[in-house]
């Protein structure tokens, strides 16, 4: 018997990336020149999903009564591993061969990737850090496994599907990233060295109209991609 391992959870800091899909960045072009932004972003726009947001695959995520609905940010996170020669990331699947493919070679330090559901309270402004919109308890669904890069293949060609209650509501094409995985990783590491256990999200895309898919209490959100076990979380109401 080989009991299935517990769901993956990050050991390090989870960094999110804003406006990393071309369509959303283009929709923002006019507003970006206006106050308070005054110019389009130059460096990657990052935020942090704090530890209290971590919801393992399968967990129910509680929405406060003051939050009628949330935005779904379906994403892929690059999981930073330990240097070659040291034990690989403990939650990674070691039945797979070591990183040896082309995709892995372009992502130094990355041991694998994980599906993520970056939930937010809808907010129109990207001016101030989004802590009160993004760091509520449970607001990051985390895929069941850290999938080795050799198995996941080229993350820049992945397509995620978002289903809410079984209905497809978004397809996210990572071919349309502003900064592809390697570029984002390099641009972030240029000023803050990602640590073993850290996770860097590649960003989430909006729908054609600029909004993100939304979900409410009772909804079952599933994020899936070829080569990954789906990430499923259900939204539940606040208990008295």
């Amino acid at each position: 018997m080989n009991p299935s391992p517990p769901p993956f959870l990050p050991d390090g800091t989870v960094y999110g990336t804003l406006l990393n899909f071309r369509h959303e960045l283009a929709l923002w072009a006019a507003r970006a020149a206006e106050p308070p932004y005054k110019a389009p972003p130059q460096a990657p726009v990052l935020f942090i999903k704090t530890a209290n947001t971590f919801s393992p695959h399968g967990a129910a995520i509680m929405l406060p009564t003051s939050v009628p609905e949330v935005e779904i940010g379906a994403s892929i996170g690059l999981v930073i591993g330990f240097s070659e020669g040291f034990e690989s990331f403990p939650s990674a699947d070691r039945s797979q061969p070591a990183m040896n493919n082309e995709a892995a070679a372009t992502l130094p330090g990355v041991v694998g990737c994980v599906l993520l559901n970056d939930l937010s309270i809808p907010h129109d402004s990207y001016y101030r850090p989004p802590v009160k919109f993004k760091c509520l308890d449970g607001f990051l669904g985390i895929g069941p496994r850290c999938v080795p890069l050799a198995q996941a293949g080229n993350v820049n060609t992945l397509k995620l599907e978002v289903h809410v209650n079984g209905a497809l509501c978004q397809t996210v094409d990572f071919h349309t990233l502003v900064r592809d995985a390697a570029t984002l990783l390099a641009d972030v590491n240029a000023f803050m060295t990602l640590q073993p256990g850290d996770v860097l999200m590649l960003g989430s895309d909006c729908l054609p109209d600029g909004t993100r898919p939304r979900a409410r209490v009772g909804d079952r959100i599933e994020i899936s991609a070829p080569g990954f076990e789906p990430l499923v979380n259900t939204l539940v109401g606040e208990t008295a």
Partner: protein, 258 residues
């Protein structure tokens, strides 16, 4: 009690302050005293458990005078951003000033260390959830400021740019954290002085506010913002951020390797 975490003799140790010395708590050396100069000082924080990276919340514009200095009106609710643990460094560390930047400044801040799980805490009970206090220097490089999730991480979450320490002072030893003088010196000259009573959002308010939507865990940090008096610092400058009764955190700016 003032607690420290240090590297000495090839290992990391917990220690407490005793008569101007460090007294080791490590079983093999328990009771041994070291001078403050013979150790490497680490952030005075125990590691967090697996799957629970430390939450580090930091306040912007939490002193009315500093808000005015930066030409903002006082915020109506806390302006908070999050930092990653990798930006922390210890007392007497080197902080790198990147080549070619024009304005890099320190920020002397009272840092609150959470002592027990805090969820929906009321202001009146907030002090029960604090383990202690330390001093943080939340350096910022204003050249990199952009108006997207501002202050952005390139300004505020850089390697080596958040010295913290030297001591974690037990909450019981600081009867009123809202009545402490703060001061920064650069090469011995006072450049910043302020007082925690001038915070816009005080410590109990902040704990109530944050814990209303996010559960804080032991070891999590709240950096409570800085008063006015920030100035540019250059490689070689020795910056000491000090808070009355808590400690004097020394840091030296280093040139970037490029």
């Amino acid at each position: 009690m003032k607690r420290a975490r240090i590297a000495w003799a090839g290992a990391i140790h917990d220690a407490v302050e005793s008569d101007g010395h460090l007294e080791l708590l490590t079983p093999a050396f328990r009771g041994r005293r070291l001078s403050l100069d013979e150790v490497v000082w680490l952030p005075p924080l125990a590691p967090t458990p697996p799957h629970r990276p430390r939450t580090i919340l930091a306040l912007g514009l939490n002193y009315a005078d500093h808000a005015k200095e930066l030409a903002f009106k006082a915020p109506e609710e806390p302006l908070v951003f999050v930092k990653g643990e990798a930006t922390l460094t210890g007392h007497r560390a080197l902080t790198v000033r990147p080549a070619g930047v024009a304005y890099m400044h320190y920020e002397c801040e009272l840092a609150v260390v959470i002592g027990k799980t805090a969820k929906k805490v009321q202001k009146a009970d907030a002090y029960d959830f604090i383990a202690g206090y330390t001093v943080a220097n939340d350096y910022a490089i204003r050249d990199y400021l952009e108006n997207w999730y501002r202050p952005n991480l390139r300004v505020k979450n850089r390697d080596t740019c958040t010295p913290i320490g030297p001591w974690l002072v037990d909450a019981a030893d600081i009867p009123d954290p809202m009545n402490l003088a703060l001061q920064t010196t650069v090469n011995g000259k006072v450049t910043q002085s302020g007082h925690t009573r001038d915070m816009i959002f005080d410590v109990p308010f902040l704990i109530e506010y944050f814990s209303s939507f996010m559960t804080l865990q032991p070891g999590d940090l709240i950096l409570t913002g800085t008063p006015d008096g920030v100035v540019d610092c250059q490689p070689g400058d020795v910056v000491v951020t000090e808070i009355e009764g808590i400690g004097a955190l020394e840091n030296t700016l280093a040139r970037s390797p490029e």
